[in-house]
Symmetry: C2
Subunit: 462 residues, 2 copies
């Protein structure tokens, strides 16, 4: 449907694997990959990119439909000890009544927001499978296909992570009625997964992984069965799981499985670089070391984890031991690459009363270190061949508006620090995914229709 993305681009400044380089020429092939990236080159007839160029950011953890109630659970409910668990009640109230059109309209709206914020790929942790009565849709993959529709309409690259959610809590606690849109048996899940695998085969910029929801919602045998099946079909498929988000979950895991949840997982699930442990907030020192050594990524969601009062991930110790990470917008209360990375660092500063946490001997700038770490870790977590401006990688990139940066595009050693920490205006000018332009000068070609449907849907819901 689109013209070929084959093109040659020139950028005055680009953030390459070797750091900031000047006068960079990018060749993009018809398949949407970079074929060459070279610096110090004259622009010639290349298409000019009008600002500093960055790799696009992967969003490793998204529940798209939760954008519908963003900002609607920030109040005291009568009599409640407000916590994560009351937020979850708000989520259920919305989840109970969304129809497929509403679900897709919200997902499309929030994916557009993600692109404008500089995210180029999203890991959709997709747990709503059934209709409001708890029955299958005529197509079992109806809502998963709505996610796909939202991604394709906006142009964001998708790693779909269909969720297995079987129980309400440790020890196979029976789900309540409000969870019945989410609940599948292992067999139902594997059937759905196979259907999606056929559907996604050969589609560009789409990837299928799996997401056993958490140790509280999936029993050990189910986890093993799902991982074995998915790995037998696709050895590289990403495996995402929520873990250790709340202290209550740690206590329940100790009671139910006899171990802290991350320790249990590392001991029992052959966790490797295909895995993304989402949140992993509550870790003891041994878990920090084991997780860092596993090759898995931690899927950190700083704005959601702050909003929900989860606590702070032990970032400093984890990075010092070579741990990998990606960032996610999760509940969508904030959809902003800068705020996730800024507060990932700030949380550590507040906890330690020191400045300049995320850096190492080779990268002195916190902005460069965090941006590099979360683009390379995040693309690993989504199994997308991207995350760097380099030959053979997908052409996923973002062009910043240099004039919007605090202090302009000059002074490259501080450019990413100024972008992430100090820029007041939205500074993403253009966004390209797999060589295709999805945001141009701040605008998406379908934005009016997408925003109209999104607003209309929210008015129906509230």
């Amino acid at each position: 449907m689109d013209e070929s993305p084959a093109a040659t681009y020139h950028a005055a400044l680009a953030f390459l694997p070797t750091g900031w380089q000047q006068d960079v020429i990018f060749d993009v092939a018809a398949n949407g990959d970079f074929t060459s990236v070279r610096s110090g080159a004259a622009p010639g007839s290349a298409i000019r990119l009008h600002g500093p160029v960055l790799p696009g950011m992967p969003n490793v953890h998204s529940h798209a439909f939760q954008r519908a109630f963003a900002g609607r659970a920030e109040r005291r409910s009568a009599g409640a000890r407000d916590s994560f668990w009351t937020w979850r009640e708000t989520m259920y109230a919305v989840a109970e009544r969304l129809d497929p059109e509403q679900f897709e309209a919200i997902a499309t709206g929030v994916y557009l927001e993600m692109l404008r914020a500089g995210y180029t790929s999203v890991g959709e942790f997709h747990y709503m499978h059934r209709d409001p009565n708890g029955a299958w849709y005529a197509r079992h993959s109806e809502l998963a296909q709505r996610v796909l529709g939202a991604a394709q309409r906006t142009g964001i690259a998708l790693t779909l992570l269909p969720v297995l959610y079987t129980y309400a809590g440790f020890g196979a606690r029976a789900p309540d009625r409000r969870q019945h849109r989410f609940i599948l048996s292992t067999d139902e899940y594997l059937g759905l997964w196979d259907e999606l695998a056929s559907l996604f085969a050969g589609v560009d910029d789409v990837r299928l992984g799996t997401a056993p929801h958490s140790l509280r919602a999936v029993a050990p045998a189910q986890l093993a069965a799902v991982v074995a099946h998915v790995r037998s079909c696709d050895a590289r498929a990403p495996i995402h799981i929520h873990v250790a988000e709340q202290e209550r979950e740690v206590a329940d895991s100790l009671a139910g499985l006899g171990a802290r949840p991350v320790r249990w997982l590392l001991a029992n699930a052959a966790v490797d670089e295909r895995w993304c442990l989402v949140h992993a907030t509550h870790l003891d020192d041994a878990e920090v070391a084991s997780l860092a050594a596993s090759g898995a990524i931690a899927g950190l969601c700083p704005t959601t984890e702050a909003n929900l009062g989860d606590g702070l991930f032990p970032l400093q110790a984890y990075l010092a031991q070579g741990g990998r990470l990606g960032i996610g917008s999760d509940s969508q209360v904030t959809v902003d690459v800068r705020e996730e990375l800024r507060w990932l660092e700030y949380g550590q500063r507040l906890a330690t009363q020191r400045r300049i946490i995320a850096c190492d001997d080779s990268i002195a700038s916190v902005g460069e270190y965090l941006y590099r770490t979360s683009t390379t870790g995040g693309t690993l977590g989504l199994d997308r061949n991207a995350g760097e401006l380099a030959p053979g990688k997908r052409a996923d990139f973002v062009v910043l508006d240099g004039e919007a940066l605090a202090g302009g595009a000059e002074d490259t050693p501080t450019l990413l620090d100024r972008y992430l920490f100090a820029t007041s205006r939205p500074a993403v000018r253009d966004v390209v995914v797999g060589g295709r332009w999805v945001i141009r000068e701040g605008h998406h070609r379908a934005e009016e229709a997408i925003e109209l449907a999104y607003r209309h849907t929210l008015r129906e819901l509230f």
Copy 2:
């Protein structure tokens, strides 16, 4: 130079002292005050305001020139234990070479950013008095007049807080050369203050207070002399002081004054509602109670305090005891009302692992509670007769872009929560200060010239 601000406005929605009201008519007099505010009224021939109307936000703590190096101290310096004290070195390096034109260009640029973010007044904690050689300018008030120029050019209301800074540390430690633009004797300070008092007399939307820098930079006798002089001239003048920002300061105060700094101040300085204690981060329980009872406001700067690794103010206990507060953008690393208030709340959630901290029996919404508290507390701290949309107050207000709010302008019980916690796009449409329009549909009438001069100045500096 301007036409009279006398006008009648109509808003479909406005946040009054009684909460959200519909169909509100505002009458603004020629002097820029509201003369009447009534709800449930037909628009008639009133000028329509095209979005929900809020009181403008006071910014109680600003060092305007620090915007020049925002985002330029987020990197490891060779061999340094990175902390507040190395950030301060970066500040000195810039402060050493700014000339008056550069100083004014940066202040004007950041005041424009403040207006766009929804701030309508600013407390400028102004400590740069001398030229780069440490000599007086021909006019002693040269740089203070540059602050005034920046405020008047942009239209933000100004409370100037000229700073007395005499020592480098407790026990009258001698200043080093890098501080010589800031240093005044008490007599020099009082002379400058009197000059400013004459200059500011009768000027609209400008107020003069005083700012003994901190207990580490001002001796007890100097503090007493300055407060006595200023109060004898103007009993209502605001008095601002940095206090207890870092644990090192608490330790130094214990060693130098024999008491923790907030305790010393409350015991020795007749602190009352004219005072703003800036930061006040490190408080014991007794200090929390005494500060809340004093009537003073705490000047909280959450994004700067996070950037500098200061620590977390004990918000929950302070509010529970009736404590008052205002917010400040301080170092200007972030200039965003929403981020200050959001992370004021989030910091507490992370520390306590609970949600929904800032609210009370009469205001269930965190957004409404924080917005109300910081507008009323902040105007008290700046001694500006504003902070509420009510007769007799200055007409300082902000019109939001309803379409930019997550979920639109409907559902008023969650409107401020969605604005503060969940809105991705800048949502400030119009800004009015003392009845005069300063931002209209996102634009300021002098924005091109202001931004050009700002960018030009940064290029000169870096």
